[in-house]
Amino acid sequence: MKEIDCRGLACPQPVLTTKKALEEGQEELIVVVDNIAARDNVERFAKSQGATVQVEKRGNDFLLYIKKKNTYEITESAQKVEKVVVYINSNVMGMGDEALGVILMRSFLKTLLDLKPVPSKLIFVNSGIRLTTEGSEVLDSLKALVDKGVEILSCGTCLDFYGLKEKLRIGIISNMYDIAQSLLEADRLIRP
């Protein structure tokens, strides 16, 4: 497996180096970086290319094990796994009494844990981002979903608007490009 040492390289070089290696046909790679921004960016990029990524911390460095899915795997997985995206645009579920809406949303997210198929992504926009930030009562449920492989995206503009960007506690900050792309690529879209 090819190892790429990106330690000491300034952003965005680790991502560009990884991109080049994948474009050159590397099926499996180990990318070594020495800072969190590079780790997160390389991981996010590789996943956006349909690769799987495992991260290991070694001393002050991070090793990212990147494996590109081959055509057979992609075809197989496309046949078996449906992309279910859950789009949450409010911190409450349904319209009406707000207190009831909070309870329903908490229950919905908890119930998702026990059902199949597991969604591929949860997208939080507008007041929905209150659920992924400090003080949210559903962080444990979201953490359990992440452990099952669910990706959690929170709208960056919304976090800015509510002044909660620094208080994001789970998932990643996303943008309209990624959000719109995820919605378009979804096989099924769930809006609780």
């Binding site: 300034a10 952003c11 965005p12 560009l16 590079a38 960016n41 960056g156 503009t157 490009y177």
Partner: protein, 76 residues
């Protein structure tokens, strides 16, 4: 004026990947933004970056264009 090659809906990564000379422009704007743009906003669009860090979008785009082809003289 020739058509612009960099638009506000392109991501930072997309811009740098296509036009490596633009990397120095992003570094130049880091100070104004108060963060390393390539570290924090690599997957965001130029428009989003300008809004988020309160940068002058038109100037930002002009500086990026200038970096890829200074002879175009897009500046007024």
């Amino acid at each position: 004026m020739k058509d612009r090659r960099i638009t506000m809906d392109m991501t930072v990564l997309e811009v740098i990947d296509r036009y490596r000379n633009t990397e120095s422009v992003f570094k130049k704007y880091d100070e104004q933004a108060g963060v390393c743009i390539c570290c924090q906003s690599l997957f965001e669009t130029i428009g989003e970056v300008a809004t988020k860090y309160r940068l002058n979008l038109d100037q930002f785009l002009l500086d990026l264009e200038d970096a890829i082809c200074p002879e175009l003289h897009l500046h007024p």
